[in-house]
């Protein structure tokens, strides 16, 4: 059952270009959390910014009551978030949304683009616990956005990187690396989160090879609980109904979603 909690910030520091990590204590939320779910965070005490900001559960240690977020500073809310200091209270609602389905005893690939890596760490932890062979592919623009290596390594999984500028790992698109990285061994399941054109390429690859999987979507949110009907999206253009990303998602089957392939 989700709840609203005042978390106590443990630490909050920069870990890469525009990337920050915040740890806070929120035992109630931590106890309920599943990979792929998110929290909705209120920032500041004033009316601007007004709405909460949705952020994935990057890591959760239920026993310690500890939650970690990985966030990229893109606007006013995330900027304010970076100013919280240890000991301060932070107003959090969660865990919200439906998380990832957790497979067992499989060879699974997790593909994260940029800060889309966020929901995949907690997922990795849980997948490892379920005896899966986990391979994580992470693509960014440059090596200074690769801040998660240590955390993934600690979980003992394979973690491969691609950077557009070649400053680390494979030089080029993550999805180009993907093809090389995944074959010839068979992949049983794919989880992905990142820019839609990237996820679109992943979904195409998966469909081509008959691999099932899940992805995580984003939409601007207000309530985060399905009450405002704001975070609506048609999964396929031909659908008549809109799903609500906050409640029906943010995780959806790879083949259920028609993704933007880029352009504008």
């Amino acid at each position: 059952m989700p709840l609203a909690e005042k978390g106590t910030v443990i630490s909050n520091h920069q870990t890469g270009r525009d990337l920050w990590e915040m740890e806070f204590l929120a035992p109630g939320i931590a106890a309920e959390s599943k990979p792929g779910q998110f929290v909705n965070v209120r920032l500041g005490d004033y009316s601007d910014p007004l709405l909460r900001r949705p952020l994935s559960l990057y890591d959760v240690e239920p026993d310690a009551g500890r939650i970690t977020l990985l966030y990229k500073i893109v606007g006013r809310g995330t900027q304010l978030l970076s100013r919280y200091g240890s000991g301060q209270l932070i107003d959090v609602m969660g865990p919200l949304g439906l998380g990832f389905d957790l497979v067992q005893n499989r060879r699974v690939i997790l593909i994260g683009g940029g800060v889309g890596i966020a929901p995949l760490l907690f997922l990795t932890r849980e997948l490892v616990a379920r005896h899966n062979e986990v391979i994580v592919l992470h693509g960014t623009g440059s090596s200074d956005e690769l801040c998660s290596q240590g955390r993934f390594s600690k979980l003992g999984v394979e973690y491969k990187v691609a950077t557009m500028d070649g400053s680390s790992g494979y030089k080029g698109l993550l999805t180009d690396m993907m093809k090389e990285a995944l074959e010839p061994l068979p992949t049983d399941y794919i989880y992905t989160c990142g820019p839609e054109p990237m996820m679109s390429a992943v979904a195409a690859y998966a469909s081509q090879h008959g691999i099932s999987g899940q992805l995580s979507l984003e939409e601007h949110m207000a309530c985060g609980v399905g009450a405002c009907l704001g975070c609506a999206r048609k999964l396929k253009e031909t659908d008549t109904a809109y799903v609500k990303i906050c409640k029906d998602g943010p995780v959806f089957p790879l083949d259920a979603v028609q993704l933007s392939t880029g352009g504008s």
Binding site: P2, A4, L50, L51, R52, A222, C223, C228, G230
Partner: protein, 311 residues
């Protein structure tokens, strides 16, 4: 008399044109779903009234995405009245609200006067609803909606038609997108309204300068939140002075002090919309905050404060 004894004598209940609320704090239509969405966060039986999502005769799938956008101290929404239709509401969503002993106010929107009448008839026949809020002010749908709320004659017609179908308290919800709110309020009264709900959202928009397009799929949306509070207070003040009907006031309320501003400007009860998104327990907090204020000020009830700031 000590504080504790006095507290027992304090009357926080409100009679909104025949609609009884245990406390003056309602949650506004479209911001609280059908009550169940926030159930994990708040004991909804403690809320004065839950005004459910705007309901139409037939199911509506709503407007294209994006539907919401944050603005300075406010937000735009263009949901487009997505809802499952009146029958599903009455048969599927309402029962659990009744079970939870919630005071439920229906919110209806029609494309024609007849549709408003038909919706009201269906509701009237169905036990468990305490009142009907008429959404004649939704800026986000092409047909129906706002044009009803901006023309005094149509307002009167709609209210009359609804009143003839139901004995429930009827509360038209006024659009702020008008030159003269008082004339609209008078028309609603002349049509037989039992109370007035004000204000709905201001019509606004935002531009995505990177894409060089309107942000919202619907281009225009309704502006809500603290940004509109001064406009809401002004209109409530004007109407309170000129029209003798109880007012359910809202627009940007985030806390007890905001609610007191509305009550002193003439609102008999308040509604919280966008505030729920900011703080899911805000309705309960404000109900308690108002009770504390009334106690501390040595008043006998919230009613003593209604219109206290009107000169």
């Amino acid at each position: 008399m000590n504080e504790e004894t006095r507290e027992n004598l304090i009357d926080m209940s409100v009679n909104l044109g025949g609609l009884k609320m245990q406390n003056p704090v309602a949650v506004a239509s479209g911001t609280f779903g059908y009550g169940r969405e926030y159930q994990d966060f708040i004991d909804i039986s403690r809320i004065g009234a839950v005004i459910v999502k705007g309901t139409t005769l037939e199911e509506r799938c709503g407007n294209p995405a994006p539907r919401i956008y944050e603005t300075p101290a406010g937000m735009l929404n263009a949901i487009g009245l997505e809802n499952p239709g009146i029958d599903v509401f009455l048969n599927v969503y309402l029962p659990s609200l009744i079970e939870d002993r919630v005071t439920v106010i229906a919110n209806i929107a029609g494309n024609t006067v007849d549709e408003y009448a038909l919706l009201s008839r269906k509701i009237d026949k169905h036990p468990g609803i305490a009142g009907i809020e008429l959404n004649i002010s939704c800026p986000n749908v092409k047909q129906g909606g706002m044009q009803f709320g901006t023309d005094p004659d149509l307002v009167k017609q709609v209210v009359e038609a609804v009143k003839s179908e139901t004995s429930l308290p009827v509360i038209p919800k006024l659009s702020p997108n008008v030159t003269d709110i008082v004339s609209i309020a008078r028309a609603a009264r002349d049509g037989g309204a039992d109370a007035l709900s004000m204000i709905n959202t201001l019509m606004g928009m935002a531009v995505d300068i990177d894409r060089r397009k309107p942000v919202l799929g619907n281009i225009f949306g309704g502006l809500s939140g603290p940004a509109i509070k001064p406009v809401a207070l002004r209109m409530i003040y004007q109407v309170y002075k000129e029209v003798d009907l109880p007012i359910l006031g809202g627009g940007g309320i985030l806390n007890t002090r905001d609610a007191l501003e509305f009550i002193m400007a003439g609102a008999s009860a308040v509604s919280i919309g966008t505030g729920n998104f900011v703080n899911p327990v805000v309705a309960e907090e404000i109900a308690l905050g108002l009770e504390k204020y009334v106690t501390e000020q040595g008043l006998t009830g919230i009613n003593e404060l209604v219109g206290a700031a009107v000169l």
